[in-house]
């Protein structure tokens, strides 16, 4: 421990008081400090890192955070002894670590909350990459979640550099793209994209995409085994034709349970990254925007079983649609759907409509513009409560038009046409 409690740290004319030690990692120590009457986390590197690292940190601080999801470095702290570090905001208590989720200690309220977290994750990396950064070290320790709201926090942002520039970090073995494991390339946006798919697979399936029957080939998982499993001979556990690395019954129980519940388009997105993307690192990997679109589709199509409450998709576009709940066998609810362009939103209570649904030019997949509610006096009557900044026009099957106010409720009625804008018209169908 470099500093003790109540010690005053001086940096470039400013001072901060050490309140506590928060963590001690491989790279450095993290302290709770009081600076300018606010509490922050201060990370101090253990060894004097080279100038490139410090300059990169300074440049990232100046350039700023891609979004609020990143606990981005806020202020460079340079100590008199030559060591340095940075100040960042504290992680609020309502966030759990992704590691605790993987260890089965904490989880998400429901599947749609988990999917929302995945969408936030992809949106954050889309923004990061758009700013010309690459993250370089995506792993289980970087992410936190609020299990009630699906909100995301990304920590450990100090290895972020301009794309195609690397300051030494290679990543964590099970999360690295195979070309990084083999030593054929250095981390960049393409390898970030591979690691992002690994994190998404772990979230949705609770397993590693390359750990299956092939584990049996190794007595001990040593460096040779790791090089083959994740570098020279990676084989996706759900490869369509080579089935020799399927998850092992009894050992990979979570993956075996969860994978079959995913819609085909999500499975395809994984297959693309983990099969085509092994060779074609630039064009074979599902991009953030593709993930966002597929995850939004998943969120739109999700319904909950009226009997057991489990969420699943009817998947009418699938080869084998679920006409009954795949968990308890109860008949699916009859629900209306709102079709807007390519979106197919199943209108169950609580289902949300997002900005991107009603504005095809929007890439805002998280701002809610409507939610399905029940009428207070007659709960069997449902409607979509909108929160817009303009009125909208609806037209029923008989051609009768009606204006719905910016904060009004669209009745959920068969064959109702909803004109959100000149370019966006939705239609309510019965499923």
């Amino acid at each position: 421990m470099k500093f003790s409690k109540n010690e005053i740290i001086k940096s470039n004319g400013s001072t901060m008081k050490v309140l506590d030690l928060l963590g001690d990692g491989g790279q450095g120590e993290v302290y709770l400090v009081d600076y300018d009457h606010n509490k922050y986390a201060l990370k101090i590197y253990k060894d004097i890192q080279y100038d490139d690292f410090k300059n990169n940190l300074r440049s990232n601080i100046e350039k700023g955070s891609p979004s609020d999801n990143f606990l981005w470095p806020k202020k460079l702290v340079e100590l008199e002894d030559g060591n340095f570090g940075y100040l960042m905001d504290l992680r609020p208590n309502n966030y759990s670590s992704f590691v605790s989720y993987l260890n089965g200690k904490d989880g998400f309220k429901d599947r749609k909350t988990m999917i929302k977290w995945c969408i936030e994750l992809c949106t954050s990396f889309k923004k990061l990459h758009e700013m010309g950064y690459s993250y370089q070290d995506l792993n289980d320790g970087s992410f936190f979640f609020d299990g009630d709201t699906g909100e995301l926090l990304i920590c450990d942002n100090d290895n972020v550099t301009a794309n195609q520039k690397n300051l030494g970090v290679l990543g964590k073995i099970k999360y690295m793209a195979p070309e990084i494991v083999r030593g054929d390339a250095l981390p960049d946006t393409h390898s970030d994209r591979f690691s992002l798919a690994v994190i998404l697979f772990m979230t949705l399936c609770l397993g590693n995409p390359f750990e299956g029957e092939r584990l049996k080939n190794y007595n001990i998982i040593d460096e040779k085994a790791e090089l083959e499993l994740y570098g020279t001979k990676p084989l996706f556990v759900y490869h369509k034709t080579d089935k020799s690395n399927r998850p092992v019954r009894g050992y990979h129980a979570s993956v075996l349970k969860r994978w079959p519940t995913l819609p085909t388009y999500i499975k395809e997105a994984f297959h693309r990254t983990f099969v085509d993307g092994l060779q074609d690192r630039e064009n074979g990997r599902t991009t953030e925007i593709e993930w966002i679109k597929q995850l939004c589709r998943y969120r739109d199509e999700l319904i909950s079983c009226p009997k057991c409450g489990v969420e699943y998709i009817k998947g009418l576009a699938e080869n084998k649609p679920n006409l009954v709940c795949p968990y308890c066998g109860a008949n699916s609810k009859k629900l209306s759907v709102l079709v807007i362009g390519k979106s197919y939103i199943v209108l169950e209570l609580g289902k949300k409509i997002y900005k991107h649904h009603i504005d095809k030019y929007s890439s805002d997949y998280l701002t809610e513009v409507g939610v399905v509610i029940a009428n207070k006096n007659n709960p069997s009557l449902w409607g979509i409560k909108v929160s817009l900044n303009h009125d909208i026009l609806v037209k029923d099957s008989k051609g009768v038009e009606k204006t719905i106010q910016a904060n009004g409720v669209i009745p959920i009625v068969k064959d109702l046409k909803v004109k959100f804008s000149d370019e966006t018209i939705g239609v309510i169908y019965e499923q």
Partner: protein, 244 residues
Amino acid sequence: MNNDRMIGEGIARQELNLLFVIDNSGSMDGEKLGAVNNAIRDVMSIMPDIQDDTSDALIKISALKFSNDAEWIYSEPKTVEDFKWTDLYADGGTNLSEAYSKLAKFLSKQSSGGKMPDLGGIAPIIILMTDGMPTSPDWELRLESLKKKGWFKCALKYALAIGIDTSEAMDVLTKFTGTPETVLKVYTAEALRKVIKIIAVTSSKVKSNSTRSNGQGGTAVADNNVVAQNQIAEELQQVEDVEW
């Protein structure tokens, strides 16, 4: 599936076995064994945090005591939550031979009668603690058998010489670890506590660290034993009354 909060059983983790091999012969009586008991309790108080911080490894702990005979404290490796330490008492000789035999039997796959995982096991960590020469004559023979075990070969092995530094004793311990670099001479209870903690904690955390480039190219797969040894050596610099 536990549908409440989508928790489920968690992810399949690789099993990391941490083994303490403890001399509780008569000469360990008093401060020495007291320090060992205290040190292991200290380690166990922080292991739950180490486990909570990693999804890469499921840490399993075992302890083998040896005096006139050798005996496992628990018949099965325990998770950090389930491993409860009961103080050891000193009595009898230093039957290192029996300890090596028990260890060899342990270091086989479960399907072959041992305690190591059939699937997804990683290199174990073995910490041997003793204060004297073995009283069993055939310990070298037993060590030869132990050295044939794949799990032993790949293990990260440390030996702590408690309050002794004769060349004969060092020789016994170097033969166990295979290198003098991981034989540590510890002179005080406080140093022992710190050393055990540093070895157990650092080596258990290694799998969770990101790899950094060595600047010379090559693969990104690190030899975890080498990484752990380097980190442990660095941490040990700060401990007084230790020599290696």
